[in-house]
Symmetry: C2
């Protein structure tokens, strides 16, 4: 029970939401996502991102195609499936509710 753990726990699930969102905006591959997540100060490492993408793909929320790169091995470019879009919608609702609920609790002043 230390701060870091709790911070990690807070991130759980939200990452999935953010990644689906990033992909919803167009074809991207893993390093693109890492860049964007890092820019938003949502620290993520490879070892977290890749397994997550695999899970999402296996769940039918994502699909990808290999595209050749000029500098290095080919890359997997991901896009959302229909199922993925619907899932993202639901997640958006969930997230909004969660933020709202949290605000309801934390905005109350000391009695």
């Amino acid at each position: 029970m230390n701060l870091e753990n709790t911070q990690v726990q807070m991130r759980k699930g939200i990452l999935e939401y953010c990644i689906l969102h990033i992909i919803s905006r167009g074809e991207v591959y893993a390093s693109d996502m890492l860049d964007e997540l890092t820019a938003a100060k949502m620290i993520v490492v490879e070892g977290t991102l890749y397994p997550l993408l695999t899970r999402l793909k296996n769940a039918g929320l994502l699909e990808y195609k290999w595209i050749e790169s000029k500098s290095g091995p080919p890359r997997k470019y991901y896009t959302l499936t229909d199922k993925g879009s619907k899932f993202l919608e639901k997640l958006t609702e969930t997230w909004d509710e969660l933020v709202h609920s949290t605000q309801m609790i934390t905005s109350k002043s000391n009695a």
Copy 2:
């Protein structure tokens, strides 16, 4: 990988934050917290709340005293320790950052 799982994952850690916040406002016991959480639509069950309170207590963030009840067994009334207050401050920062980061990502429109 279904919606419910992700929703559960999203809740992780946030619950801890909310509960610390509720306790920070004054002495409360478990059922009080459940009522407030439920009112905010942050669904929680006993089996989640009690272990969490025990963890927080063992970590030195909370303390409690038994107070007799007129209708039933005595209750544990919780309060925050100094350590708990400091922890809550940090969590507040973390939460605010997380919300901000998420907003940065999800507010971008489709390219």
